[in-house]
């Protein structure tokens, strides 16, 4: 090959290598998205099963009720959605998965609340409204605080919501709990607080049944996706 012909030929091959890299990446990432979808389907079935179980409550005692409403898988989903947001790149697909995850969290909360009322159990919950790193500089720290709390109190239910997510459910929650655009915002046992809160500050707001448990509360928690 002579002159610039070779430069052009090499350019074509290099583009081919890039196309191969892009194809492989796309292929693997689609597999990842499908994996998240599978897990979310499983969680949806778990919740539906629990709701059915709840409907049968009148014929069952509270001891017979499976209190691990949320599958353990849901925590993994949060991590995977979070990772995918930064690395997978299929924004529309990830956004859709995130919306599903958000709805599943709310359904879980509502179900847990109903079971709590029926079985006279105190459900300890924190709603965590976060934003991206530009709009919420303290969200990274707040995430670590909530991780620490989860570890300390495995029965604490932490629900994470993307403040900017375009979803009517999130808008409804923001309206109900009067969440302003001050992030991070937290709703601890129904009480809204804004700005970064330490482990100790949040502990003081949580019910005593959690910190000094007498009877076993409902198990499960979710993470920021």
């Amino acid at each position: 090959m002579k002159g610039f012909q070779k430069y052009f030929f090499v350019l074509i091959i290099t583009c081919g290598i890039f196309a191969t890299g892009w194809y492989l990446s796309n292929y693997v990432n689609n597999k990842k998205i499908n994996e998240i979808k599978d897990i979310q389907n499983k969680i949806a079935i778990d919740i539906l099963s629990s709701e059915t179980q709840f409907s049968l409550l009148e014929e069952l005692s509270c001891q017979d009720l499976d209190n691990s409403i949320l599958s353990q898988e849901i925590a993994k989903v949060a991590d995977k959605i979070n990772f995918s947001e930064q690395n997978v790149g299929n924004a529309e697909e990830i956004d859709s998965l995130k919306k599903q995850y958000t709805i599943l969290q709310v359904k879980d909360f509502l179900l847990a609340k109903r079971i709590g009322e029926r079985c006279k159990q105190t459900i300890s919950t924190i709603f965590y409204f976060y934003g991206n790193k530009e709009s919420c500089v303290d969200c990274l720290k707040q995430g670590f605080v909530l991780d620490a709390l989860r570890k300390k109190y495995p029965t604490l239910r932490v629900y994470s919501f993307d403040y900017d997510l375009d979803l009517s459910t999130v808008r409804a929650l923001k309206s109900i709990y009067k969440i302003e655009n001050v992030l991070p915002s937290l709703v601890v046992q129904g009480k809204t607080v804004s700005g970064f809160k330490t482990v100790e500050e949040l502990e003081s707001m949580l019910p005593k049944e959690l910190t000094n448990p007498k009877k076993e509360p409902l198990v499960g928690s979710t993470k920021k996706p």
Partner: protein, 415 residues
């Protein structure tokens, strides 16, 4: 797409482009390469006179071995002379050189210290040989090297200089083994550049020149202590062809510590930057061919790329450390390791797959280079420390060379 990603993709695109360029050249010339590689020791039509200049400055421990390797060359004794120049050494170099004062093939000289280029030029002034070579006093030549190089000159009358394959002499520690891998890869790169007519350096150890080179374009210049680069640039400017004889092997001593390696490479990179600035008029000019459109731009791009990647890495590392410190301050220090490996969290961005292909191309060049340099076959585990060590250290000397250029600091010392 954010700027950082665009920059990363651009850099990796250009890096892949360079490697593919070499690969295409390799496949174009594979038959020729195989033929040359299997060639027996050539029978020369005639034996032109050859002078080898050995500039020595404080090389008391190695100069004897260097001269001996030259005298052992498989070449008629009356057609080969060795000029050993003591460039104002302060050790026992002159004492060692003096042992050859009565040798019929050796001429010894002593002069005031003036730098390597002055010693070599002194030698050029004191010979009438048809071919002139230079051998650093820390290098040794394979006995058949000269015959192979002269054979190439006789086959290709338009070739004005020939560079040999450099091999690390008896590597002992991991730093030297890593350099051995690098030199093997250089053999491949240089061979491909030779096919492209785009060699940018005629290395100090045993590059051979026709005497017309010095008559037409002058002798060596100080050139930021990289006279072997500058003369190659000057030859390219004057359309003088430089070839590479990959079957002519020269064994060279190598830095055995990171500090020595750093100083050597700082000098080389600084020299490359300065010479490229001095000869910037050659860039993107069709009359200078691949040297102008491939060698120089890829060198410049690699320097810019390493600078960018170093700062990007430093930035990401800082962010990671800050994040970790924040996490530990809130959650406490936890030494427990999770054994639950999940493939999901492996980065599968496009750039990762392309990087894998790029590393594949680099390893291919090392393997071919190793074969060309007759340093074994197949994958050698030293490739791993080579990639690791050079990924960490190379950006340091490169950044320092760029810093010295920007701040107009003096050139790095020879040693």
């Amino acid at each position: 797409m954010p700027f950082s990603e665009i920059a990363m993709y651009t850099i990796i695109f250009l890096a892949v482009y360079v490697q593919v360029f070499f690969l295409v050249t390799f496949f174009e010339r594979r038959k020729h390469l195989n033929k040359v590689h299997k060639e027996d020791l050539p029978i020369l039509q005639s034996f032109p006179t050859v002078a080898v200049i050995v500039p020595a400055w404080n090389e008391g421990t190695t100069v004897h071995g260097t001269v001996k390797s030259l005298l052992d060359l498989d070449y008629p004794k009356d057609r080969l002379e060795v000029l050993v120049i003591d460039d104002g050494s302060t050790d026992n170099t002159w004492e060692e050189i003096s042992k050859y004062k009565d040798h019929p093939q050796v001429k010894i000289f002593q002069k005031e210290n003036g730098g390597k280029h002055t010693a070599v030029n002194f030698g050029i002034d004191n010979t009438n040989a048809d071919f002139i070579s230079c051998l650093d006093a820390d290098s040794f030549v394979a006995p058949d090297a000269l015959k192979r190089i002269i054979n190439l000159f006789q086959k290709k009358p338009d070739v004005m200089a020939v560079a040999p394959s450099l091999i690390i002499h008896k590597p002992k520690n991991i730093i030297q083994h890593a350099q051995r891998v690098e030199y093997n890869m250089s053999t491949y790169n240089k061979r491909m550049l030779a096919y492209l007519g785009a060699i940018h350096v005629t290395p100090g150890p045993f590059s051979v020149f026709r005497k017309e080179v010095f008559e037409k374009i002058g002798k060596f210049r100080k050139a930021h202590n990289t006279e072997d680069q500058e003369i190659a640039y000057r030859m390219q400017e004057h359309h003088m062809k430089i070839d590479h004889c990959h079957t002519a092997y020269v064994y060279t001593s190598s830095p055995n510590t990171v500090k020595k390696l750093y100083k050597q490479r700082l000098r080389w990179i600084y020299g490359f930057i300065q010479n490229t600035i001095d000869y910037r008029r050659l860039i993107f000019k069709t009359r200078y061919g691949n040297f102008s459109f491939f060698t120089l731009p890829s060198g410049i791009i690699s320097i810019i790329a390493v600078c960018y990647l170093s700062f990007a890495l430093l930035y990401n590392l800082t962010i990671f450390v800050i994040k970790k410190i924040t996490e530990i301050s809130i959650k406490g220090f936890n030494l427990s390791f999770s054994t639950n490996f999940d493939w999901f969290f492996i980065n599968t961005k496009t750039i990762v797959f392309i990087s894998i292909i790029l590393y594949g191309l680099i390893i291919f060049s090392i393997l071919v280079g190793t074969k060309l340099a007759k340093q074994g076959r197949g994958f050698h585990w030293h490739i791993i420390p080579y990639i690791l060590i050079y990924s960490v250290i190379a950006p340091v000397w490169l950044l320092k060379a760029v810093y010295n250029t920007i701040t107009r600091q003096g050139q790095p010392k020879w040693r």
